[in-house]
Amino acid sequence: MTFDEIRSQAQSEWEALQQSDKPRILVGTATCGRAAGAMAVLEAIDSGLSRLGAEAVVTQVGCIGLCYAEPIVEIIKPGRPGIFYSGITPEAVAQLLEDYIVNDNPRPDLALGTVGDGSVDGIPKLFELPVLKPQERIALRNCGHINPESITEYIANDGYSGFARVLKMTPEEVIAELKTSGLRGRGGAGFPTGQKWEFCQRSPGNEKYIICNADEGDPGAFMDRSLLEGDPHAVMEGMLIGAYAIGANHGYIYCRAEYPLAIERLEIACKQMEECGLLGDNILGSGFNFRVEIKEGAGAFVCGEETALMASIEGKRGMPRPRPPFPAVSGVWGKPTNINNVETWANVSAILQKGAEWYSSFGTETSKGTKTFALAGKIVRTGLIEVPMGISLNDIIYEIGGGIVGGKSFKAVLTGGPSGGCLPNSMLDLLVDYESLAKAGSIMGSGGMLVADEDTCMVDMARYFLTFTQEESCGKCVPCRVGTRQMLDILERITRGDGEPDDIKQLERLAQVVKTGSLCALGGTAPNPVLTTLQYFLDEYEAHVNEKRCPAKACTNLITYYILPDKCMACGICLRGCPTEAITGGRRMVHVIEQSKCIKCGNCLDVCPERFSAVVKVSGEELEVPSEPIPVTASQ
């Protein structure tokens, strides 16, 4: 079959699905949806439909990115816009089916928004909501809308049309188009993709490789997982285009083993491509051959570094090597290799589908297009977002993210994970692109964006990241192996309350050495969290070192819990919940914490009824409280 035939068949099947007189029910069952209970909802839909004797087409889709609202169910009735329902439980969905499918009550109270033509009274349009309005979906274009396990649905939505177009172009023309688009590597470093391809394309040799880096090791990032789970074909099409332009006949997808669903969906995608003649020999009759192998990572953060990743593909310890030679000259198996990240590949397919001009209309002068971010931490609307480059951090955190949880105050936003930096309130006007983030001491990174509030200690944050990078340092070069260990020792000392006056200076010196002296980007960026917290939150370091006080009251060694005798009503809730039995007291007797037994878990503070508020957490001060239970004096 020619591509046009495949395409028109896919379109007529898609059209038939849209015009079907049966309602359609779409359930988001990516990993995050499943963790929130989507599979139980799916079962409840099946049993609910058969109980009601109603018919509907039920489809599992990827993640639309509104993780805070999971599990999400979309119901599309013929001739109506689709309605997204959020926070759906198995019980709620049974009622919803009865109300909407049978009795035609769209239940605006449960609805999040509508998608598609037309409107429903009392329900806003989904993409007009503050969380989605500033977003622009290019890489995530199909996530949550199509069945990721159906190549037909992808093809019907312009899928593989970019690749079909490429087959009529020369490799040089494809690279030129990519250069015009201004796309830069989304793995974090931001190298111009077209230029990278050109290096590899011009490298001598008949045997070349391309790699999709899906080893999303940055803790706090899940863009690539969502993309692979929600729209694997968008990535595969990008790889096909890249392979054609570069002249590679073999590709690898290096995906971390912690993402079983992503791997499963990639395997399904590859199989479907083979069946459609989009993978294997003589693809679409063009004479171009391409095969893909999926490699499961085995858990090593450093394998996100390109030379380490290639060593791992070859079955070796994943350790980086000095460059040059660059992978474009000598990569996997010593052959010219081009490696791009998942999101980059998904952008490539969009660019070739819709054209470079269209793509470069998004973004700023130097950073074109969009960037996905995994928004997490102390923020109201956590989730996966895709925003045009040049949006301000402020808009991301307050417009899209809805601000800080529980009315607390914002302290810092961390971009780029363990390789990035912590930016304070004063930097919130910063426009997100590669250059401005680097100038502020952070990096764009692969897209982890974590929001910290007043309860987060920035010294502890730096310690946390160093624990991670120190453990993940492969040990090949001295600055990284020894330097990260030494920095971590100092940070542990400071957060423990044993910091010495010289420590802050020493830490800064070490950070500079590790940054400049390390072999690869792991060591080269590991000091970033330390350097940015020193730059923007020096007062917190000084409080830990000089006053043995943690201003955020987060470092367990520097905090103490007390029960205030004039407020305690001796209700016994904290006493019963204490895991180490550190609380004594009795009927009408004020409760007392035995400090030597206290493990600072904070349970007593969490469970003390708000109307009493008798438990307090302090740092750097001692309160006068009785050492033995005394009769209750407080009155309500």
């Binding site: 803790p219 490699k295 085995a298 079955g315 995994a374 928004l375 931490g377 956590t382 910290a452 349970n603």
Partner: protein
Amino acid sequence: MQERLSPILAPYRRQKGSLIPVLQKVQEELGYLPEEAVSEIAYFLGMSKNEVYGVASFYAQFRFKRPGDHTIKICQGTACHVLGGPKVLDAVERELGIKAGETTEDYKFGIETVACFGSCALAPVMVVDKTVYGRMTPAKARKILEEY
């Protein structure tokens, strides 16, 4: 051991480049990589035991001790860290009387820490075998353990 591993190893004879998938398949079969399995793999791929162990010990995925019947993985990713992941880990460690990386004496439970599951929006996250539990607290974690 040879009998159990032969069918897994057969397609990879003398293919050094396949070491990592081989280790993954063997661990899937046995639950861990005992010393005999490492010897067997080395022999099959034509490598020294040292080389095999060198690669296996580099990656966090491979274990050399028998795991518990139920593996509890507690996420220590950034989002989980700021939302109380360490407290959940502490509670589970206390409840079972073992530390992360260890297994209870009756081999019922083992605790592992994981850098990130990518379910950050549901932080803190705990995974028992293949079930993901989101928005954990020490109390919820203790309750979940009772179900096993």
